[in-house]
């Protein structure tokens, strides 16, 4: 009947359109994940030192899933136009495998984001910043990463500690073991620094006079990029998967309607 033929034509058109969108989203996902893996904000050493860098694993999976989605979208378009049952079956099975991987990536990114609380970074900073006696070479690597990252974050973002300079007073730390409290109530990088890299007023910084030290905490400067990475991978991936679900259902329906 002409009507069913038209219905199928419309479905064919919709599925081709759906696959084009999937292909473009796949490329976008790959680009986004490459951006995250390149770590423009420099927070990777902090995540590495927590010995749990799942967000980065999720981003790596995202890169390959993006490519796979693009390739499979092309396969899908060819299969739909040719109305080839075998090709579409292959397409559906491979898409389901890709769906499973992307699902794992989204859930991993979302779960790991919940793991990164202020207390986690606080404890890591107190235990590792300027620690002088590393246990082994892995510990030394992580300690150097944490120290360099914190120095960079504190100077660039004009902040001190996770919640504030009082972090250094409220808790003992590896830093406190080598720097006495009277000369270093908080690290020198918490002072307002001039162009040469020296505090503009060391006594003012030690006293805690407003204007000579950084009074804000750095948690926002760290959690901002981490949140962007995690939510970028998790929720964009989720959106792609929802769209892919609809296209796959349509493809299954279309497949079942092809005369063998």
């Amino acid at each position: 009947m002409a009507k069913s033929d038209d219905c199928m034509r419309i479905l064919q058109g919709l599925l081709v359109f759906g696959n084009v969108v999937i292909g473009m989203c796949g490329i976008a996902l790959t680009a986004e994940c490459i951006y995250f893996v390149s770590d423009p904000h420099g927070v990777y050493p902090l995540l590495e030192a927590t010995e749990n860098n799942d967000i980065y694993a999720a981003a790596w999976i995202g890169i390959f899933v993006g490519f796979a989605l693009f390739a499979l979208a092309i396969l899908g378009i060819i299969g739909i136009i040719k109305s080839d049952r075998t090709l579409l079956m292959v397409y559906i099975i491979l898409m389901l495998i890709t769906f499973a991987f992307e699902m794992a990536s989204c859930i991993t990114a979302a779960t790991h984001r919940d793991f990164l609380t202020p207390n986690l970074f606080l404890k890591q900073m107190l235990e590792r910043y300027q620690k002088t006696e590393p246990i082994n070479s892995n510990d030394k690597w992580m300690t150097e990463g944490v120290t360099k990252t914190w120095d960079k974050i504190m100077v660039q973002n004009h902040c001190c500690g996770v919640l504030g300079p009082s972090d250094w007073q409220e808790y003992t730390s590896a830093f406190r073991l080598t720097h006495n409290d009277a000369d270093f109530p908080w690290p020198r990088k918490c002072c307002v620094i001039d162009a040469q890299g020296l505090p503009i007023n060391l006594d003012g910084c030690k006293l805690g006079v407003p204007g000579y030290y950084n009074s804000d905490g750095c948690y926002d400067a760290i959690s901002g990029p981490v949140n962007t990475y995690a939510w970028g991978v998790a929720w964009f991936g989720f959106a792609i998967l929802c769209w892919t679900f609809c296209v796959l259902l349509g493809t299954m329906f279309y497949w079942s309607g092809i005369e063998y």
């Binding site: 559906i92 389901l96 499973a100 979302a110 998790a234 989720f238 796959l248 309607g257 005369e259």
Partner: protein, 248 residues
């Protein structure tokens, strides 16, 4: 009766009277200082416009533990072992430091200047017994009480009140920080649930497809025929299954 009372009051001060100045030393009030009290230092207001009558005197800061402040003897001079910073608080009940004259505390205080005294800022002389008036960092959390004492030569001439007890900060161990998060966020749970349901539906669909591979879809009223077999349409009335036979 007034005269004998006055004489009684004068008798104990055999070396001259120590005038009591009505001023209570306190922690610095303005501006708000982050390091007002740390684990080993604290910051006091300077005693401006307090010792104006004593232009020739040396003004010393006396630091004592709260429990030994009441038994403090003004006559014991600074620099003696009983007042040495290095011996505080074990064998010296108090120590004297931050020697200054009235010239260091001009009156009135210029507006906008930060006039404070940081007790505990000298870290180089903490072990040096040749520097008993060292302004070294304190080793315990206190509580401490301070007062200012003006000496002319070696005679005390004026003193302020004792301050309120000053407690320093105590640092906790980082092991006390709990890093277990309070459970998973709502977003993550919603994401996992929805994706799992979608994946389950798709798997069910795939299973249905595999089961019906090779046959037309059940109750298929909308069969899609390939463009070549256009002539079939004319016979597509009731008996769909007779198609192959009709064409032959």
């Amino acid at each position: 009766t007034m005269l004998p009372l006055l004489l009684l009051l004068l008798l104990p001060a055999a070396h001259g009277t120590v005038e009591h100045v009505d001023y209570t030393p306190s922690l610095a009030k303005s501006p708000m200082l982050e390091g007002l009290t740390t684990a080993s230092t604290f910051v006091l207001e300077q005693p401006r416009c307090v010792f104006d009558k004593y232009g020739n005197a040396d003004i010393w800061l006396v630091v004592a533990l709260e429990k030994t402040a009441t038994t403090f003897n003004n006559s014991v001079g600074p620099g003696t072992p009983e007042r040495a910073f290095q011996k505080f608080p074990d064998s010296a009940p108090a120590y004297m430091t931050l020697n200054a004259t009235l010239a260091n505390y001009p009156c009135p205080k210029p507006a906008g200047d930060i006039t404070v005294l940081r007790v505990g800022s000298e870290t180089s002389c903490t072990e040096d017994v040749n520097r008993p008036t060292c302004n070294g960092p304190l080793s315990g959390p206190g509580p401490y009480r301070v007062k200012f004492l003006a000496l002319e030569g070696s005679e005390p001439v004026a003193e302020t009140d004792w301050s309120n007890p000053i407690m320093l900060r105590t640092a906790k161990s980082p092991n006390s920080i709990s890093t277990t998060n309070g459970g998973h966020g709502a977003g993550m749970i919603a994401l996992t649930t929805i994706l799992s349901i979608l994946f389950a539906i798709l798997l069910a669909g795939l299973v249905a497809m595999l089961v019906f591979w090779g046959s037309d879809s059940c109750g298929g009223s909308s069969t899609f025929s390939k463009p070549e077999a256009v002539t079939v349409r004319r016979y597509n009335t009731h008996h769909v299954y007779d198609q192959p036979a009709a064409r032959l």
